[in-house]
Symmetry: D2
Subunit: 143 residues, 4 copies
């Protein structure tokens, strides 16, 4: 099974088969997956909150970075990509028990660099919670 | 006790008294704390890793955002601050069990906005692992 | 004439009527303008180049910031917006004499904050040259 | 003369000998230059203003990107560096005729990547106007 086929086989289920321990901790449910675009759903957990009992910005940032990483992995390339930087902009909140959706796609793919974007939405897609981008670099490290 | 006195009372110990559930999950040890500058130490845990068994960039981003939030809380102001955006740049790695140090300070404090920075270092301060900045906005929400 | 009507009246022409001296210096041609979305075209000038004779990243950044500012002005609101931060990612090049297109839109508009994006493309929209975002804050300063 | 010696020879004078046409247009005065750290002064010109008659954020962004580029050039390396991204945070204003100082330094230098920072200050260094960072990549393109 290719990485993208693996992801697709988890559609509607928690993706508990990631090679990334932190992805497992985040426990995303696969909503959709195709080459260069994946949609994951997360349930906001009590330990993810800030003092105002909203989802902590650090967790939102972690989710954005992680889903972009999983999307790169799903490309099935031979080389590892390393993240150069992340930018995250915060717009709205989510509470414990809320579901949030992370929609991730490649904006630009060059020979060495990839620029990817992830948007976090509420489930009915009426309110964007956060948005982030990453620049990634194709290393010479083989998988 | 003021917030900064509270933090200082945890010097050398895990700060397990935060009003932030996610800060508790990260379990920082207070190394140093003064107004507008705090230094925390973290131990990289197995669930914090990426597929290459290095600290996951998402966790690094979460730590940076969280420590900046704790520093803002330590100012003891009446109003909550909200994070507008984060920028994180990645330079190096850490492994499970490694200790990492997060040094956080205010770069610019205006009436409504604060710009803060956090650097993540290895313990002997010879290798910078990542660096992030946040813009924060003073809300009218009282604590 | 409202600001957006003013912009529309310059469709196909250089917008030489801006209240911004720097916008005048950049000399954009209005391709399209509607509320919260404008498209401008620029011709790369010799003084805009870097040592490799490509458009200088600083000029690209300046264009992105400027077009986002013009879009905010075109909303015709009573208050000035101030830019909190810019993020610019570079993907490709342009040469002296080349035309480039800046497509700008609002991603999120709240009561106090706006998040806007600008993409720079080559004229036939086959190659993205750069992309930037800004967070803006509605000041109490009246126009 | 090495690039850094060239820069030093312009101390107190406008650096009008840059291989970058846009640097020439910005007309920086060299205040200080050493390996990996340069300080330039600029005079805010009428065409650099925004509608509020303050220095335009786009010009500030352009200056930050340009001075970082000049610092990289001053390293005298054989290869060209390309800018991956810029981040600029805005804090304060400057008026036409004001002098502003751009202090630029390398934060992290790896084999392939450099992370650099530029701060814009008023002349007596009491007020930071803006601050920016760039990630740069060492290309295989030889000078």
């Amino acid at each position: 099974m290719t990485p993208i086929e693996l992801l697709k086989s988890y559609k509607g289920k928690v993706f508990d088969n990631s090679p990334s321990p932190f992805t497992k901790w985040l426990a995303p449910t696969v909503i959709d997956a195709s080459e260069g675009r994946i949609v994951f759903e997360f349930t906001v957990r009590p330990e993810w909150l800030n003092p105002m009992h909203n989802i902590h910005g650090g967790v939102t940032a972690a989710i954005i970075d992680d889903v972009i990483g999983t999307m790169m992995f799903s490309l099935g390339e031979d080389s590892f990509y390393t993240t150069i930087n992340n930018t995250i902009d915060y717009f709205s909140v989510a509470k414990a028990g809320d579901k949030i959706t992370a929609e991730t796609q490649i904006i630009k793919k060059g020979k060495q660099f990839v620029h990817a974007e992830c948007e976090i939405w509420n489930p009915d897609h009426t309110r964007m919670i956060a948005r982030g981008t990453s620049n990634l670099f194709k290393t010479s490290l083989q998988k």
